[in-house]
Subunit: 342 residues, 4 copies
């Protein structure tokens, strides 16, 4: 047990998933658990599945409570991370599951979030070029959005190798946990079961500029993106169907080879065997992303599909993977590659 980890926002879904993974991590020990409105209550009231922590009482989210740990995971509403991080000191590893430090372009931040830009931290998507170098030794990590991780992994190899034009359409179907635990009328079970519905249509979803940022970095030029998230009746999972026009000369073989090369050494990203397509159910509770690609010759398009668990690889698992790198631990430490099915 080399490291102590505090979790701020422990009663939410991202917080709960962080705790589930931390409980299985051989080098980390769960420290302070904090919450906002739920401070003072037992963790078991909010996450009865976290049996070993059921009797832990949630503290207020304050710097005093969070200080003194080797690392602090922030699973807070957008806009609350900067103030806390500043006071935690530069020796503490701060891993922000919120959006505050993801975007590099302050104008994009202001346009989508309406508040001043707090800054940019090393980006917690280790599979991106240069990311592991930036993460090694850092004490600040910005964890990507869950739709962002999915779409980026699906299209990055094609963009990086200039196999497609920088003009992507992404429809990303997701379970309900991404919407969080706050009870809202349209999220109650009676409304959700049997319902598939889009939200944030027309480029208004806040993950849009972050996907553009990643794909543009991969492509080396500004990528245009149509992004539509869609809610589906399941608790977890994201399946992103991504397409972009093929560049001249791009072939199915070349594309498959590019994807295979890109992810050959990745422990958590896998190109499926030919003819097998990803399903969200293949990735439940694992830090695994599964990908398949094909070429549609009539449409002149690449179609790439990626599936992952929005709470694991899409949030808490990705956070822990990046934290492992930052601390010099084996990247796979404490991260399940095996999912739960059926």
């Amino acid at each position: 047990m080399g490291y102590t980890a505090a979790v701020a926002g422990a009663s939410g879904y991202a917080g709960g998933e962080l705790l589930r993974l931390l409980l299985g991590h051989p080098e980390m020990e769960v420290g302070a658990l904090t919450a906002g409105g739920n401070a003072g209550s037992r963790l078991g009231e909010h996450h009865p599945h976290l049996v070993p922590l059921a009797d832990r009482v949630l503290a207020e989210t304050t710097v005093d409570t969070l200080a003194g740990h080797d690392m602090v995971f922030l699973a807070l509403p957008h806009g609350q991370s900067a103030a806390i991080a500043e006071q935690l000191g530069s020796e503490t590893l701060v891993v922000d599951c919120g959006a505050d430090f993801r975007l590099t372009d302050a104008r994009e931040w202001e346009r989508y979030y309406g508040t001043p830009h707090a800054g940019t931290w090393p980006y917690g998507l280790p599979e991106m070029p240069g990311a592991r170098e930036a993460l090694a030794g850092t004490r600040r990590i910005a964890v990507p959005g869950c739709h962002v991780t999915t779409a980026t992994l699906a299209l990055m190899p094609a963009m990086a190798d200039a196999l497609v034009q920088p003009d992507a359409v992404v429809v990303s179907v997701t379970g309900t946990s991404g919407a969080g635990k706050a009870p809202k009328p349209h999220l109650i079970g009676s409304e959700v079961m049997g319902a598939v519905s889009p939200y944030g249509v027309g480029g208004t979803h806040r993950h849009t500029p972050e996907i553009v940022q990643n794909l543009s970095q991969a492509a080396g030029s500004r990528v245009t993106l149509s992004f539509t998230p869609v809610l589906a009746p399941m608790p977890r999972g994201i399946l992103a169907t991504c397409t972009a026009p093929l560049r001249d000369g791009a072939t199915a073989e070349g594309i498959t080879a590019a994807y295979r090369a890109c992810y050959a050494d990745e422990p958590f990203v896998h190109l499926l065997p030919e003819g097998t397509w990803p399903s969200t159910a293949m990735t439940l509770a694992a830090n695994t992303a599964l990908i398949q690609v094909t070429v549609d010759p009539d449409a002149g398009r690449l179609v790439a599909v990626a599936a992952l668990d929005n709470l694991t690889k899409g949030t808490a698992g990705g956070a822990l993977q990046s934290a492992n790198i930052a601390l010099g631990l084996p990247e796979e430490s404490g991260l399940p590659v095996t999912g739960v099915a059926p």
Copy 2:
């Protein structure tokens, strides 16, 4: 009770939905019910929800059994309709829920179905230009595929008014009933619940050429299409997210006006109030299609989303709507516009 209706393939999902609607139709009487392997069994074994017909015994699907009705609905596997229709005589209204007579281009048929083309019948999507004229008085109707109806209704006004370029991307999320009742390993409940997965990726799904046919007819020129169907954990419903590049000068206002004009007099297709997006749950068991559109200025794209019940407006309801027109009945006769929710 002016008309008798036989249903071939009565034990399947399309057959069951046809019977549900026929039971509520003031001018139609349920006649012979036929099946293939299920012939000889009680309908109640297959459709216990059809209480008034529970004790009816399924006959073999033969011309003798089907003959003598005013109309025959065929809900059969592809390729079986032509032989039956030929022998039923030209006075019988034959409504084919299969694919056999949907495509106008024999080469497309052969490419996607691998058998000789049987021909082309009047197309049962009354909302398309000229469709009602072609359906009036006909005795042969080809009912569209369920994804096809959804995508066509979503994009037709924009294509028809040349508001977008003829280059569409459609991701169409659907419930499991579209895959039919044959028990297959990947369709059992344990596999389906929690799973969102694509199928027929890369333009290989048989609904692809049919969507192209409809959109091209609307656009007046050949439309390019990337179509990806996605399976979601619900029994019914389709939500199609459709996008195409805006033409110069197309505005959000102009687009909304075009959609409103196109569907103003349609009894079953509704543009939702601004800011409201369709959900499959809004259309369960109704012959209703709900649509919303927006413009994504950064992507330079129209995004149009349509939802409907794949078994009702997407199959049996659309079939009955077209049959009403063919027979000169009120088009809305026997067709629920009110859905079931939650």
Copy 3:
């Protein structure tokens, strides 16, 4: 259109289902729609599936608004019906979907609801002995609770014919719509999907004394009851598994005969063919209750299982069925016997 009907509580699930059925009733016209906190909003915001009423604006629930209709359906929180009913006048048919007037024993009311007893109205379960007589011509109807209707229909014939001892165990599995539309943390989709959990355990659920009242009336003596409701991941439906010790001499044949005799002439209650057991999916959106019984010789017990749709036969359909009787209309008028499946 002989009768006008107002619905108080129109934005809730019971209200929505009442409206769905009223829209299909040949003799009733939808009048005022009222709400509490949702007054002033469009009905389409709450019930987008009720397409023909989407643009109706909800009024405040006041006597002035509700007065002047032939009938008023109250779908209000417990305790609000008495004051409204008093002022509506004795000529108005008031159908209360709440609990206020269900119980005959004031002490039981006070024990379970903690407020003074408002009184007892004719009980809206027409299948009970004497119920149709009490309902004919009445202008006040107390609609039973949904679990109550299910358990009563399942056990009434055995109790009435003294085939079992007056000592019942009922486990009643229900969908989430029975819990209403108020967003509560444990009812959001992420929590509900994948979750089966009991509530109101140990005789504390308010439907307990009402089931006891009905079964005791059928048995002619006080029935002891262990009642446990269980929440399951589906929007609608109740399946009650009910058991009671066999009396000496009771046989499987005798029991089946008793059930068959009891429900032979009922339009909405059906004993299934031998070997077929009810499923909630068989009754979705129909006013149908399906029942099967068997004898467990080792346990010396009757096992009776009933399934119905909690919002239809369990609430709004049962309400309309009773209203039909009260008004002298055909009992089946406007009530679907055919369900929606799959």
Copy 4:
């Protein structure tokens, strides 16, 4: 990696869950994987979530393939275990997830299974009195049925302390994975979603005599049982609602104390805090059983509810827990106590 483990029936759900747990067990190494009809195919075709084993090819289930491992897990259809076990030699630990060696009474076996009784092995429910002693050092383990584990854990303390009469009613709601992977018409997703339905009603389910056996052993006298399993729309989980008449003098406090004492030292069985009731969602993918009890004074009954994951604590986890004991490993080794939620 002290021990090698073969899994026969690896392509089924029990086999898949065994492999998921074996992959996380620090002392066990996955050896041969065998199947019946699926022999020759990649494991990844059947269990894509088992990423590290995706490319392993399934062998035929033969003694030759299974021999030479330290332990062999049998997840086979009933009746196939005896012949294999006999030939595997007495040094090999054989853990049978089937029913063949569970029952002690040959007549009960023959009555429920219709074949000659193969014998009785040490029973793999360590929480039962004397079970750990019988399991220590054994080389043969009969893993209990999933409903059996749930109902036994729910009622055992009350039966053992004579707090209730030996007359139980159990309604056990379960997910679909218990029905296995063979595609059957009533198990396809379209049929299962939205459906709650009973099966094996009237004491006919094969888990009935096994529950009776366990509860009778606990009570010290023959227990009468009414057992009804109910299928619910979720992949995993069992929630058993169990009730029995209170004996004179039994109090709520005494009952709670008895349960607390019984499970105080159990690593995998937990009595929840007062007022909290188990949900299947609390136990997904964990080897945890959660229990709550109360007294219904009006009914004069104990109500005990237990939840667990039918594939983990109910099958594969229970099997591994017992194998740990047999091998002298720490009982909790390789077994998750933390579930996956939401």
